[in-house]
């Protein structure tokens, strides 16, 4: 088990034939991902050779699903075309769309996340590194060789901080690591991942990484308090970051929070989450927490 992505996942790549798509499809294949096809209406019927594997290109997501039984798509198409790509995938009934593309206009993200929700498609991203279930499957751009399979679940807004923590805890290993993306509107939230990890028998402890802006971490803290029984360790970046753009009066009214790192840290700690002051200290807290957990179970 794991969350959202397993070795059974059959993965399509929208935008596979572009530069980034080619590069990362090769990496995903090397990580063991079952890439069953690419999607490009102008190259339908072609195949692309990746080392020892020939990957077919389909004219649409629907054709790809019909031919292969694909249930996941990874989207690399440029910002101007991302909305259409996601809507197409949702219309075709894909279960999970991982949107890597950076720089998508927010109005487009608002439109396609609402649309996908209605169609029953889970979106991860946009502007995210994707997700990896080490040893099984890698959907996106997270390097597969940083860590190994294990029992920590990780959810984060930030790509490189995810890598850093995966690296610090590489000897323990991870069930699934999800980079949800740093855009103001994302399809899958910290809370969604917390709920999934709580239900995942292979996840023993959850690492939650957040950063300044919005109030997603505060809401995640409330969720942990009310619904999560597994240990959660947190890290928040941005205590000394320059003050970001304020959204007029309306921003503060909506979130009801200042969005500062301090406010997020306090909210998490109030919910019983231990929060590290550096990535390295966070990793140490994880180790200590696992130790306690195991002595409770066995002692």
């Amino acid at each position: 088990m794991a969350i959202y992505l397993t070795k059974e996942s059959k993965v399509l790549v929208q935008g596979m034939t572009g530069g980034e798509g080619m590069k990362h499809t090769r990496r995903m294949l090397a990580a063991g991902t079952d890439i069953v096809g690419g999607v490009n209406p102008r190259k339908a019927g072609a195949t692309v050779d990746f080392d020892d594997r020939a990957v077919p290109v389909f004219g649409s997501v629907a054709e790809g699903i019909q031919a292969t039984g694909a249930d996941v798509t990874v989207v690399f198409v440029p910002p101007a075309f991302a909305k259409a790509a996601v809507v197409e995938a949702a219309d075709a009934g894909i279960g999970l769309a991982v949107v890597i593309t950076e720089g998508i206009p927010v109005h487009d993200s608002v439109a396609f996340t609402a649309y996908a929700k209605r169609k029953g498609t889970r979106i991860i991203g946009p502007n995210c590194p994707g997700l990896i279930t080490p040893g099984q499957s890698d959907a996106g751009i997270i390097p597969a060789d940083i860590t190994k399979p294990g029992r920590i679940g990780l959810v984060s807004k930030s790509g490189t901080l995810t890598y850093q923590l995966m690296y610090e805890l590489r000897d323990i290993g991870f069930s699934t690591c999800v980079g949800i993306g740093g855009d103001p509107v994302v399809g899958t939230t910290h809370i969604d991942c917390l709920a999934a990890f709580q239900d995942d028998p292979d996840t023993e402890l959850i690492v939650l990484i957040g950063e300044i802006g919005g109030d997603a971490e505060e809401r995640a803290a409330a969720y942990v308090r009310d619904h999560v029984t597994k240990p959660v360790v947190g890290y928040i970046a941005g205590f000394t970051a320059p003050e970001g753009r304020t959204m007029g009066h309306a921003g503060a009214i909506v979130s009801g929070s200042t969005g500062t790192a301090q406010a997020k840290k306090e909210a998490l700690e109030a919910a019983g989450v231990r929060v590290g002051s550096t990535p390295t200290e966070t990793a140490k807290l994880v180790l200590a927490r696992l130790e306690e957990q195991r002595s409770l179970t066995h002692g």
Binding site: A114, P143, G182, T278
Partner: protein, 376 residues
């Protein structure tokens, strides 16, 4: 990008929303002429992208053209919350009967836009929202439906706004969608003694990601108060100047923010934020280093890279390349980990620059860079 009030006013006008007659200038003499053309009596308003203008003395009524010139002279050059006033807007005064508040704003939690409206507009809307939330209506807008007349009527009714605001609410939604705005706020939206509905002051934030499809964006729209920030922007770098002594370069916004925190935790202050992004090339690294080294406040530099997509050997090549073009005058602490880290470290070892030192951990590197900055 946040727009100035006068830009928001223009946008509203283009979309058929009534606004006071007004004009912008950076010259007191011209302010006198504008006041005369507007009928003599005008409101002189500082154009700055921050709130609290009124309290800071940046909004004043002038009784005649001579007073307008004098007032413009006082306000121009004024410092409002670290924003220097470069232009003033002169607007015809309006006989206000009622003041309302309306906005559309992104609700990150819900992933949709939210209409916020209140019959109690004016400067203290945040206080109203905090003390009497029932006086502020919040209505989510379905992105597929948008704000139709029926939806606008629902918003107006929930907030207790007069029916004549419905048209403004619909047009304001058009501004939001057509201009790819993340926020449109009118505060106050007023009813004049004559019964007209006017947008008296507005705030608009445009979505930077939508630049490619919005003609309104120009290269000169993004202003940089700081020369280093301007130089970095010219090279396409994601750089923010701060006030400390440790120059910071890293990859990925999250890791760079974390690096600032770790350096601060070591008792030093970061000199900047610089994210060289994923897949950063040697050129980007060299550009970043040269900007940071030209900052006189910088005492030491900390390069913190975790190679995910970025290959550490490319980062090391970038550092070596920069050492050939920029004379290194400050110590450089480099921490490379992840993708091709060993190769990257070897490249730096081979270059063996006396001012470049390597550290194996992020915390250790931060401590060393902090010490170098505080003892320099």
């Amino acid at each position: 990008m946040d727009l100035y009030e006068h830009q928001a006013r223009e946008l509203f006008e283009e979309h058929g929303i009534l606004v006071p007659r007004a004009q912008v200038t950076d010259s007191p003499k011209r302010a006198r002429e504008i006041a005369r053309a507007l009928g003599g009596r005008v409101v002189v308003k500082a154009q700055v992208k921050t709130g609290g203008r009124g309290k800071a003395g940046g909004v004043k009524l002038a009784a005649d053209p001579a007073a307008a010139e004098l007032t413009a002279r006082q306000i121009l050059g004024m410092d409002i919350k670290d924003h220097r006033v470069g232009t003033v807007m002169l607007a015809q005064p309006v006989d206000i009967e009622d003041e309302f508040y309306v906005s559309y704003v992104l609700d990150r939690a819900a992933g949709t836009f939210l209409a916020i409206a209140s019959a109690e507009g004016g400067m203290e809307i945040e206080e109203v929202a905090a003390s009497r939330p029932e006086a502020v209506a919040r209505i989510p807008v379905d992105p597929a439906e948008g704000v139709t007349s029926a939806k606008a009527a629902e918003i107006a009714e929930a907030a207790g706004l007069p029916a004549r605001t419905v048209d403004v609410l619909v047009r304001l939604w058009e501004v939001l969608v057509r201009e790819d705005a993340l926020l449109v706020e009118v505060n106050p939206l007023v009813r004049t003694k004559g019964g007209r509905i006017l947008a008296l002051d507005g705030k608009v934030t445009l979505d930077d990601n939508a630049r490619f499809r919005q003609s309104r964006w120009g290269a000169d729209d993004v202003e940089h108060d700081d020369a280093l920030e301007a130089a970095a922007a010219a090279k396409g770098l994601n750089y923010v100047k701060l006030d400390g002594g440790v120059g910071i370069i890293g990859n990925g916004a999250g890791l760079v923010m974390s690096t600032l925190d770790v350096v601060a935790g070591c008792g030093a202050r970061p000199a900047n934020f610089l994210d060289i992004g994923g897949g950063a090339s040697a050129q980007v690294m060299a550009d970043g280093l040269s900007v940071i080294l030209s900052d006189p406040d910088v005492k030491s530099v900390f390069v913190n890279v975790f190679g995910g997509i970025t290959a550490c050997d490319a980062v090391a090549d970038g550092i070596v390349q920069a050492l050939d073009t920029v004379r290194l005058t400050k110590p450089l602490v480099v921490r490379l980990d992840g993708n091709n880290a060993a190769r990257g470290r070897a490249i730096l070892d081979e270059r063996a620059h006396p001012l470049v030192q390597q550290a194996t951990t992020m915390d250790g590197a931060a401590l060393r860079a902090a010490r170098l900055a505080t003892t320099a």
